[in-house]
Amino acid sequence: MADNDNRQMQKVIVFELVNKEYAIPVEYVLSIEKVSTITRVPGVEPFVMGVINLKGTITPIIDLRMRFGLEQKEYDESSRIIIISFNEFEVGLIVDSARDVLEFPADLIEPQPKVIGMQEIDFINGVVKVDKRLLILIKLERILQVLGTTQSI
């Protein structure tokens, strides 16, 4: 992404997970929903919380904290499900809160700094500094890797 045209703008949805700000390109985001009842599905990876009824479509829900191997947290008023569509997959990602829509030149994106050293490093596409905020761009293809081919985290 860093190699893209310099003047190209990147629009992202910003969300929060354990006090850090992450971003997903807006083109992959279908909608942002409040957390409703999730129907558990047996025998799937633990980070798949189940499925919800999204306007008549059964949509699997991934808890992003669990996917990243972070500590779990009860869903509350600010918890959101970001519905994304990526590579024919339509899934919802549960995040602590959805914050913002931001736009910045794509050339601001830097490769992931080695110093960050977080558990979720595998899921990062790059980082970007907008004003004084550090946004972590997440790697959707990695998050959505089909079950079975996923290595344990």
Partner: protein, 679 residues
């Protein structure tokens, strides 16, 4: 007028009419004396002609017109239906089909139909020689006259019916004057004089005032009520000079069928007019005509893009969720009026739901109905006697699946006819009836529809199959030795395999059964073979109901709700805990003398246990084939119709779950896959 917007309607309706022709022609072959069938075929052909002419597909119109002439001869009983004539008519239908398909593929619908037209003309011409009647009729003309004559309004029908009750008969009398008739009005007057003696004239085409002014061609038709016989009437009228011919025919009773017949005439008339008028007027007339036709021939239909239905359904589900909330709110508020309104809304929307869901379902008949015709033709080509039996044509499948299964099924049928059923001689030698039977059967089972093609033919010679597979390098000899009969049969589906000794134009069209298998598997289905050498084979196609309504039993397991397809359920059963027996580390019960295993759903589905153990176990007895099991649940919620939904690409295979559904309250419930639980 921009015709493009009507093109889709034209194609669809043409296909329907051709299908009707096909079916009815087959019917006619079985009942060659049933004039009603001819009338119906005529109607379809006629509408098709009108539509084609309007749309500017002249070859189509020309051929249909010629076909109509033949049908007209048949319905006027000037030609006796026989297989040869039908062959030619079928040929015409084939041509028409090809042209419509060409139009559908974006072509211009042009085709050299002169040969077929010539054949049809020969039929008509042959008839004239054969009958040697005084009628100097040219095809087409009688249609026009008769059709006009036979239109009666409600009042006229009522009069006729009453008179018939009183012993009168209603006749349609067609009089053709000599070409050189000088005093036409006088002849008409004389004929009417006779009518007056015979009975009462209730209708005249053209109307009497037109007749008086001599403003008509050489013929006119009157409907009279009389107690005389047709022959008498004819004889008496023929006494008038300068008459070329007189034809007296009984007006059929006005049953529901005849009403259709009458409307047909209406329609024919409309079309007839339209063919002769200018193009623009034609368009209007035709639209009118086809809408009349739709109203009469079938129930009224409208074509809707399947995507719109999807959107409608999803929106409706949203509504259902809100309905659930409203119900909850009204319960909490305990306001009688609100409660009543919500209750009413619930009922209405429930009905709506059923309707919307059913809109996507199509009976497999729409696919099956093209087969009888094909089987007839193939059987003739192959010189075999074959009876096709269709069972379960009403079985419904989702539209998306229906659209895809036609070709694979066609291929399997061809295969059964070509390779399965033996020649009559061979069958006789084997002591079988000369006529082979192919059974095409569809039925629901679980979340699947099964379509079976069964023949009582030669069966599959696995030795031949294996030899060939080894020859072609599909398997090695070592592999062949350890294969089961079933596996050997299934070699037929291997790519590059074809058992036909020589390539026939029937099944050997360059594609083998592997293509069939691939197509079916791409639909998420499967196909299997069961065969007994010398006794026949069964090809069984299993198809999913991708998006369909199924009946389920909703159950509660601990705190979760699950749906179990009713088709897998034998019954619900409550058993005392003490009655549960242990056998090989497996809990079993004695269910009506049969030992069946228990499946604890909460442990299979790893549902957290939160309820206390009860003294009774609630069981849902399910089966998969002849195997049974008792699913242990906590309670039965009830039976419900649900929409089957997939879990999506991301969760494509979840153990023991075949899909999900959305319940009335908007919650998702998983559907238990009994087939994977009972093995």
């Amino acid at each position: 007028m921009d015709l493009d917007q009507y093109l889709e309607v034209f194609i669809e309706e043409s296909k329907e009419h051709l299908q009707t022709c096909n079916e009815l022609l087959l019917e006619l072959e079985k009942n060659p004396d049933d004039v009603m069938i001819v009338h119906e075929i005529f109607r379809s052909a006629h509408t098709l002609k009108g539509m084609s002419a309007t749309m500017g597909f002249d070859d189509l119109a020309r051929l249909t017109h010629q076909m109509e002439n033949v049908l007209d001869e048949i319905r006027n009983q000037r030609i006796k239906v026989n297989t040869d004539i039908l062959d030619i008519v079928f040929l015409a239908v084939d041509d028409l089909e090809a042209m419509v398909l060409s139009v559908a593929d974006g072509g211009n619908g042009k085709r050299d139909v002169s040969l077929t037209i010539e054949k049809l003309e020969n039929i008509v011409a042959g008839q004239i020689v054969m009958i040697g009647s005084a009628d100097r009729e040219h095809p087409g003309a009688p249609v026009e006259m008769e059709s006009r004559a036979d239109i009666y309004d409600e009042y006229e029908w009522a009069v006729m019916e009453q008179s018939i009750d009183q012993g009168f008969k209603a006749y349609s009398v067609k009089v053709i004057l000599n070409d050189d008739c000088i005093l036409k009005a006088v002849r008409v007057f004389m004929v009417y004089e006779i009518f007056a003696e015979l009975g009462e004239v209730i209708k005249s085409v053209p109307p009497v005032d037109v007749l008086e002014e001599e403003d008509f061609g050489q013929e006119f038709t009157a409907t009279i009520l009389s107690k005389q016989s047709a022959i008498d009437i004819e004889q008496r009228i023929l006494k008038v000079s300068e008459l070329e011919s007189v034809r007296v025919s009984l007006v059929p009773n006005k049953t529901s069928k005849d009403q259709e017949y009458k409307a047909t005439k209406d329609l024919e008339n409309a079309n007839q007019l339209q063919v002769h008028s200018t193009k623009q007027v034609k368009g209007k007339e035709d639209e009118k005509a086809s809408s009349v036709n739709t109203a009469v021939a079938h129930s009224k239909t409208i074509r809707v893009n399947i995507e719109r239905l999807d959107i409608l359904m999803n929106l409706f589900e949203e509504l259902v969720i809100d309905r659930g909330r409203l119900e909850q709110i009204s319960k909490d508020l305990k306001d009688a009026e609100l409660f009543e309104t919500v209750e009413h809304m619930t009922r209405i929307s429930g009905d709506m739901q059923t309707i919307i869901l059913n809109m996507r379902m199509v009976p497999v008949e729409t696919v099956f109905n093209r087969f009888p015709r094909m089987v007839r033709q193939l059987a003739r080509n192959l010189n075999k006697h074959i009876r096709l039996e269709i069972i379960g044509a009403e079985t419904e499948l989702d539209r998306t699946v229906i659209d895809e299964i036609g070709d694979p099924l066609l291929h399997l049928l061809r295969n059964a006819l070509d390779h399965g059923i033996e020649t009559p001689e061979a069958r006789r030698d084997k002591g079988k009836p000369e006529e082979g039977t192919v059974i095409l059967k569809a039925y629901h089972s679980g979340n699947h529809v099964f379509i079976e093609i069964e023949d009582d033919g030669a069966g599959i010679n696995t030795d031949v199959v294996v030899t060939k597979a080894v020859d072609k390098g599909i398997i090695t000899e070592e592999q062949a030795e350890i294969m089961t009969e079933r596996q050997k049969n299934e070699l037929l589906f291997a790519s590059g395999f074809s058992t036909a000794k020589e390539i026939s134009d029937i099944s050997g069209r360059g594609v083998g059964l592997d293509v069939v298998k691939n197509t079916i598997e791409s639909l998420g289905g499967s196909v299997s073979i069961n065969s007994r050498l010398g006794y026949g084979s069964i090809f069984s196609v299993k198809l999913p109901l991708t998006l369909s309504i199924i009946s389920v039993m909703l159950v509660e397991v601990q705190d979760e709700k699950y749906a179990i397809p009713l088709s897998s359920i034998i019954e619900t059963y409550i058993v005392q805990r003490e009655e549960v027996l242990r056998s090989h580390n497996q809990d079993v019960i004695d269910f009506r003398g049969k030992i069946i295993p228990l499946v604890y759903l909460h442990s299979i589905l790893s549902i957290p246990v939160c309820r206390e153990e009860e003294d009774f176990l609630s069981l849902v007895i399910v089966r998969n084939g002849d195997k049974m099991a008792g699913l242990v649940v906590n309670s039965f919620i009830g039976q419900q119709e649900i929409v089957l939904k997939s879990l999506g690409n991301y969760l494509n295979s979840v153990f023991a779950v075949s899909g999900a559904t959305i319940l009335g309250d908007g919650q998702v419930a998983l559907i238990i896959d009994c087939n994977s639980l009972v093995k």
